[in-house]
Point group: C2
DNA sequence: ACCTAATGTAAGATATAGTTTACATATGCA
DNA sequence: TGCATATGTAAACTATATCTTACATTAGGT
């Protein structure tokens, strides 16, 4: 479940905590997704993408 | 959780059962995803997209 | 009308995403 | 050095995606 969330979030200059609040999950959940240790729900992926002004493909499609 | 899975699957001329087997879930799961009643995992979305020769965005991004 | 394949749907069980709480560590700044 | 913010991580809990089994319905073909 590798993805571009971490690099994109850092470019956007927001913390895990801020992103988590915006998309309605906890900081830990964002941390685990960034590490690729979770298989997040589609709904959450969409929320994260919108918050970071990206699309699903940009964050989650064929990373690596 | 509206999406383009059903229309894309039908265009590809395969049944729910066939798609389900290919991506490793049951027919019921595909049926509920097509109805928009599930919030599928990213992993499953990716598997479905690849099987239907589409990307995440084409099947799940800003449908409607 | 009959038969078959495809789909809709529902109840109970299981796996795992996501939460909560808590503590440790790293980093920048006064 | 000391403090505050950001992040890593872990255990126990809760919510829900997904499975299993089962039956009903629909549509196409003969």
């Amino acid at each position: 479940m590798k993805n571009n969330v971490k690099i994109t979030r850092i470019k956007a200059s927001i913390t895990q905590e801020q992103l988590a609040r915006k998309v309605g999950v906890t900081r830990q959940t964002i941390g685990l997704i960034e590490k690729g240790e979770y298989n997040p729900s589609l709904q959450l992926c969409v929320a994260i993408a919108k918050e970071l002004n990206r699309t699903l493909d940009e964050l989650f499609w064929e990373v690596d």
